[in-house]
């Protein structure tokens, strides 16, 4: 019982935790910090997404929850001076209501697979369009800036110092890992897998399909909204394009699938890789070959997905597993 992928993952996390708190102090560059913070926050969001995604509930509309989270706290703070600590509760509550509105009919009427993906995609678009249409409040596609509250304010949850955000991000990331692992080890996982495969059969052995799907969607939406709050507080600016709609939804899904949505560290690896890759490519190519950076980015995404179908982390983990136990590969009949 030595090196199972689970153990390796656990060891990696522990090792990282050992050094993580000290990283910023070692004089990490501001820009590096900025990138790492983004990785933390987007990983958290990716983890939230993968809670659903891994059971076949592929949502392409998580931008909606993200946007609701970010906009709710921002607007409450700007218009009513309500602290984000309470605002985020409101945001989560709103996201939960929204998730309920989407998930209830979806699970009740058996909207699954591609239909679910595209329905949620439409939901994301509707939220984005509504944010734009309600421009008196939301600033339309211009977005809104958080009303400034000085360089560091606990009440307003605004800190100009990136080190603070580094720790916030770290905590979020750990929380995401914890939720993921909790779910993974429970019988609920088996129930969700069953639902993902065959809802009728699952219901027939007593699994409460509707309730499970609702619960999971709500959990995922709530966490996503929290991620949205964190991102908005960090960037201090929200706009519909970055926080809602198809673009951001796809970006979340991409990162997770790339890392591997069936494994604990998949979302982390995927998010870190996509963010680092796009930053790196942009810097390498700069304005010399316009479009080349994104071209290579797209190409790499395609190649990764073709050759590492279980995601980068997932495929590595599989490899380790296979080495240890050369089991029968499932044949396709």
């Amino acid at each position: 019982m030595s090196a199972t992928p689970g153990r390796i993952a656990f060891a990696t996390v522990v090792a990282f935790l050992g050094i993580a708190p000290f990283l910023p102090m070692a004089g990490m560059k501001q820009y590096m910090l900025h990138v790492v913070i983004q990785i933390f926050i987007w990983t958290f969001i990716g983890q939230a997404w993968s809670l659903m995604g891994r059971f076949g509930l592929v949502s392409l509309g998580h931008g909606a929850f993200l946007g609701i989270g970010a906009y709710a706290t921002t607007l409450l703070w700007n218009f009513y001076g309500l602290t984000p600590w309470i605002g985020s509760l409101v945001a989560v509550a709103l996201a939960v209501v929204m998730a309920f509105l989407v998930a209830y009919p979806c699970s009740r009427f058996g909207i699954i697979g591609h239909y679910f993906a595209l329905t949620t995609l439409a939901v994301g678009e509707v939220v984005r369009l509504l944010i734009i249409a309600e421009r008196d409040w939301t600033g339309g596609s211009l977005g809104v800036t958080l009303k400034a509250a000085g360089d560091a304010s606990f009440i307003a949850l605004q800190y100009a110092d990136k080190q603070v955000w580094y720790y916030v991000g770290l905590v979020l990331w750990l929380a995401g890992l914890w939720v993921w692992a909790r779910l993974d080890r429970s019988m609920a996982r088996a129930a969700m897998e069953a639902i993902g495969e065959d809802e009728t059969a699952a219901a027939s052995v007593g699994i409460r399909v509707t309730r499970f799907k609702l619960w999971l969607t709500v959990l995922s939406a709530a966490l996503t909204a929290l991620g949205g709050v964190a991102y908005a507080q960090y960037i201090t600016y929200v706009n519909p394009e970055t926080l809602s709609g198809i673009g951001v939804s796809l970006r979340i899904v991409f990162a997770v699938v790339l890392g591997g949505m069936y494994s604990l560290l998949g979302p982390t690896v995927g998010t870190a890789l996509t963010i680092a890759l796009s930053e790196w490519l942009r810097i390498v190519f700069g304005v010399k070959f316009i479009g080349m950076a994104e071209t290579i980015y797209g190409l790499l995404l395609v190649i990764f997905i073709i050759f590492l179908p279980a995601g980068i982390y997932g495929s590595l983990a599989d490899l380790v597993r296979r080495r240890r136990r050369p089991a029968a590969a499932p044949a396709t009949a």
């Binding site: 429970s186 019988m187 088996a190 129930a191 897998e193 069953a194 993902g196 495969e197 065959d198 009728t200 059969a201 699952a202 219901a203 027939s204 052995v205 007593g206 699994i207 409460r208 399909v209 509707t210 029968a328 499932p330």
Partner: protein, 243 residues
Amino acid sequence: MLTVSRLTKRFGGFTALNEVSFEVKEGEILGLIGPNGSGKTTCFNCVSGVLAPTAGTIRFLGDDIAGLTPDRICHRGLTRTFQIPRPFRKLSIADNVAVAAHYGATERTSEAEARRRALQVLDLVGLPTDSAALPTQLGAGGLKKLELARALATGPKLLLADESLGGLDPGEMASAADMLRRVRGELGITIVWVEHIMATLMRVVDRVVVLDHGEKIAEGRPRDVAEDPRVIEAYLGEKIVLE
């Protein structure tokens, strides 16, 4: 225990079940037979909540359960197997059963308890208890057993078994029939059983209900039904001899 009265199910213009009524008594094994397409599976689908009936009432232990969702009905103690097995392919065989034991029971059991129960049931139906094996490795017979195991793991009071022996070899069939008898005898589970293999079915069941074209055409003790000319013409094709 189960009273089905005037159950009707239409698909578009086609009537699959037409005012079918029958009763299942506690502790019996009731055979439900009929030609292909006569509505047996549809009847199971309506009773187990997979399909909503067009009309009619279904009373189970005194309550009307028509139109409830399958999970609710399962929690009340009524489970079914599927004619064409529908295993959860990504879950191991043991997990397939354990998940049913955990979520299907009338009273929620702990996860550890559910796993223990799953092993017992697997043992009962004669599947390997090796926890890691996947259902893809099972042949037709194994899948049928898994169906049965999953249904039994929910701890039902009434089991609807849809062609649980189809595809088993004669040896297996004999032991499976035996097992059904034990399920009734030792676990006290009432069974409604759909099967086309008369030689086996007729020896095990207490009573038989015969459907044809969505209507009940006969009901009674196996021996009597086997001699009913309508049943012979519509279903059996030849006179069968029950020893």
